[in-house]
């Protein structure tokens, strides 16, 4: 696979107000996005995600380093080369940014008009696009009258009108309810699978990365702190921020009062990372040792169809039997035992 987007040592600094120091939004970032993938850029607000994505289509120019997109050096491209490149990159936005003065048809047809299409061809293509995104009956409506989900569908239809090779989604679902978010994510997945469009998704919601993205880039303070295949990044976090994102959905190990309360319930507590192993694998190991456990703490999330998380089981059995099971599990993942007597006995991974 070839990379359609590559950053090398890219820094973007904005001049500060008056004599304040300049603001470094993107700090020495190098990355490559493979054709046909869906890449998530995740981080808290102010991490530089929005600037990063705007460097891709030249809405921002790098202060230093080089940005290469579809073979074009974005930093040095002439205005006409840049405009042509933008015809090959679609973009959707959190607030949709539709043209209120135009109908749905006018919005979706705008990029085609810019690209110099004939009126009849535009009409035909717009009908096709509106059907694809599922709002074929809304062509003559004005955007103000549509729901959030419908607005984003118009935004998506507009963004893919010129059959771009890349689609940039800037917090595209952050203004939508969960149901609509799921629908929009499904639509983005369809655009990726059916049309082969490479998608870069910016988000602060880890669930969106888990559901949609093959690759993830974790940003913090303008820097890329973690990146790679989504499951690997979250299963083996290299940055504290990545761990925080994972812990937010999976809870991790019981601590403090929670642990004390759990221990007072008796039995042995066994915490197992559901990481490269499934809950079924864990059940099988416990079974083989003649043990039965009940999940009393933890959480498992779904990352592109694979389980990731940490579960704590209460097992009412001999401590030694649990230790033997833990030792077997720890050959494949991390297992930790908590007993009433010695509060914390870890079995290494």
């Amino acid at each position: 696979m070839s990379s359609v987007i590559s950053f090398e040592g890219v820094t973007k600094a904005f001049p500060g107000p008056k004599r304040a120091p300049e603001l470094v939004a993107v700090d020495d970032v190098s990355l490559a996005v493979q054709a046909g993938s869906i890449v998530g850029v995740i981080g808290y607000s102010g991490a530089g995600k929005s600037t990063l994505v705007r460097l891709i289509n030249g809405l921002e120019k790098p202060s230093s380093g080089s940005v290469n997109v579809l073979g074009v050096d974005v930093g040095t491209a002439s205005p006409s080369v840049l405009r042509a490149l933008r015809g090959r990159i679609g973009m959707i936005f959190q607030q949709f940014n539709l043209f209120n003065a135009r109908t749905v048809r006018g919005n979706v047809g705008y990029p085609l008009k810019v690209a110099g299409w004939k009126r009849a061809d535009i009409d035909r293509r717009v009908d096709e696009l509106l059907d694809f995104v599922g709002i074929g009956d809304k062509a003559s409506q004005h955007p103000r009258k549509l729901s959030g989900g419908q607005k984003q569908r118009v935004g998506i239809a507009r963004a893919i009108a010129t059959e771009p090779e890349i689609l940039l989604a800037d917090e595209a679902t952050s203004a939508l309810d969960p149901q609509t978010t799921a629908e929009v994510l499904a639509l983005l997945r369809r655009i990726n699978r059916q049309l082969g469009v490479t998608i870069v998704v910016i988000t602060h919601q880890i669930s969106i990365v888990h559901e949609l993205c093959d690759q993830v880039i974790v940003m913090d303070g303008g820097r890329v702190v973690d990146s790679g295949e989504t499951y690997r990044v979250f299963a083996h976090p290299e940055a504290a921020l990545t761990e925080r994102f994972v812990a937010a959905v999976t809870q991790g190990l019981p601590e403090g009062e929670t642990l004390t309360a759990l221990l007072s319930g008796g039995g042995v507590l066994l915490s197992v990372d559901v990481n490269e192993v499934t809950t079924e694998d864990i059940a099988a190991v416990l079974d083989a040792h003649g043990l039965r456990g009940t999940v009393v703490y933890g959480g498992v999330t779904d990352v592109l169809g694979r389980q990731l998380g940490t579960l704590t089981y209460r097992i009412r059995a001999e401590q030694d039997a649990v230790r033997r099971a833990a030792a077997e599990l720890s050959q494949r993942t991390k297992a930790t035992i908590f007993t009433g007597a010695d509060a914390h006995a870890a079995v290494g991974p």
């Binding site: 405009r83 015809g87 940014n97 539709l98 043209f99 003065a101 705008y110 810019v114 004005h142």
Partner: protein
Amino acid sequence: MIRDATSWDSLTPVLLQSIQETVFMVAVTLVIAGAAGLIVGAVLYATRPGNLFANPVVFQTLNIVINLVRPIPFIIFLTAVGPLTKAVVGTTLGTTAAIVPMVVMATVVIARVVEQNLVAVDPGIVEAASAIGARRLGILFGVVIPEALAPLILGYTFMFIAVVDMSAMAGYIGGGGLGNFAIIYGYQQFDQGATWITVAIIVVIVQVGQFIGNRLAQRILRH
């Protein structure tokens, strides 16, 4: 009442003539200043820092000129631009001469009104058009101005009324029109009737303008 010398029989044609002159002055001013003000206002908007054609020199120059001209009371401005008027139309008297200062002042005010309405357009919409690969002029005239159309129409309606007001003052220095009529026959000849007739006609003109402007803006906003 000293009504013998100028009876309504002889006054009516003068009044009609005055209405015609006012409508002429207002119409010509609105067309020329409307176009010029739209362009200057669009340039002000576009050259602002961070905008499509960001250019601090052009922006600040226009900004300062407008800020200098706008606060001058129009009745003083009329005489102050006398030399310019003379250079353009050859005289400082009459309806045509009155149009010159009216156009200059109206252009300045309309430019500000246009700029303010364009600045209010969501920058995200401009960014979307940029991301699509549209040319900057295309974005300015094809996206930004249409987005601001309803408030622009209301702004122009406001300016229509301001220009009617200006035309009345132009009458005071010999510009003709309803202002001139009210001063000569109403004020100088102590004829309250003539004054009130003038007021009534101006109110009607303004109401018609306001009504049309409101209707147009509403139709666009209802989308």
